[in-house]
Amino acid sequence: MKKQTSALHDTVILVIITLVAGVVLGAVHDVTADPIAKQEAATQAAAEKEVFSDADSFKEVEDFDSDAFTATLEQQGLDQTTVNAVYEADDADGNKLGYVVDSSNNEGYGGTVELMVGIATGDSGYVINGISFLNLEETAGMGMKAKDPEFKDQFNDMELGDETSISYTKSGKSAANEIDAISGCTITTNAVTKAVNGALAAVTDLEEG
């Protein structure tokens, strides 16, 4: 057994340990902040590229008000859906090809479903180029199947024509703007659909200006 020491002595030592820990953590934070930021930027860039491979550069639409738009979506019946950011996708000459939208829906089975959608805006209506998940906390083997090509690739080159929203079906898709639900995971499918529709609404809003 150690000798009993005074309270002051004990306190001083504890304070020193805590201070040192704090300083060391600060240092480590500084050192790793850079790789973490790079990593995030890389993830972002990869997701943008993945959902809009034709585009050359992306720039954020500055005057897009995420909070105000969430209220608008709710009025349109798309509750629990947030459009976090909209990026304009440009080709090498700076001509606008469409948008990449970062949107999320809170009604996933395990929490928020956040995804990036690439939407090309042309004369013949919207074309969804693809989706990429930024956050998916669904059950492994169930809702996580949203990440599998079988489900996700339905969004590749999806020509909407005159439609400005999509829907899901459980009985085999019959229209261009329909997707097949993941069997047994309607909740996840619903969340994904809503997030994509939020993105489409945001694009419509910007296009009609």
Binding site: G22, L25, H29, E107, Y109, G110, G111, I187
Partner: protein, 190 residues
């Protein structure tokens, strides 16, 4: 309305023990008798609600303004430890009856992963202080429900003829597995 949905979700659908695996130690440890299980549930509800509130306040008014978010883990665990000590001292002095009911469980709670887990989840999910506190309360109620149910099953299980290899720990795990499957049914509430 959103808060009620959140509470139902945290309490039943994504039950803290049966689907998120937080607080397993005490879930298995003090579920032998329904009385102690209930006491533990009550004590945890008390501490978890309070700690979600205190951690939320400190995070939003101290860590965020000074850009010290990266210290959250270390700060939260110290807050929880200090809070439990403080609650214990306070109850001992001013709330004798409550202390008699909860006292013995308080020291067991400090490193119940559910307490730190909820504090961290509140930050991760960007909950406001109010939402976070409600989430904490609902999570603790979910824990309470689960541990009381398990303790009642275990009290009955004493009379069962369990295969020798499964006696003790394994059979409790299998009971928990069946409860976890049963809780899947609540998904329909969504």
């Amino acid at each position: 309305m959103t808060l009620i949905l959140l509470a139902v979700n945290a309490c039943l659908i994504n039950n803290v023990v049966l689907s998120q695996f937080l607080g397993i130690c005490s879930f298995l440890g003090v579920s032998k008798k329904s009385e102690t299980a209930s006491g533990m549930g009550m004590a945890l509800t008390f501490v978890l609600t309070l700690s979600s509130l205190v951690c939320g306040v400190l995070y939003h008014f101290l860590l965020v303004p000074f850009h010290l978010e990266y210290l959250k883990t270390i700060v939260f665990i110290l807050i929880v430890a200090a809070l439990v000590q403080f609650v214990e001292m306070f109850l001992k002095k001013y709330g004798k009856s409550l202390y008699d009911a909860l006292g013995i469980y308080l020291p067991l709670i400090t490193t119940n992963c559910a307490v730190l887990g909820v504090a961290l989840l509140n930050v991760q999910k960007d909950y406001s202080i109010l939402t976070g506190t409600v989430y904490g309360l609902a999570t603790a109620l979910g824990y309470w429900i689960a541990i009381v149910l398990l303790s009642h099953i275990r009290e009955k299980m004493v009379y069962n003829d369990v295969p020798k290899s499964f006696q003790g720990f394994p059979i409790v795990m299998i009971t928990a597995a069946l409860m976890s499957i049963a809780f899947f049914g609540f998904a329909a509430l969504k």
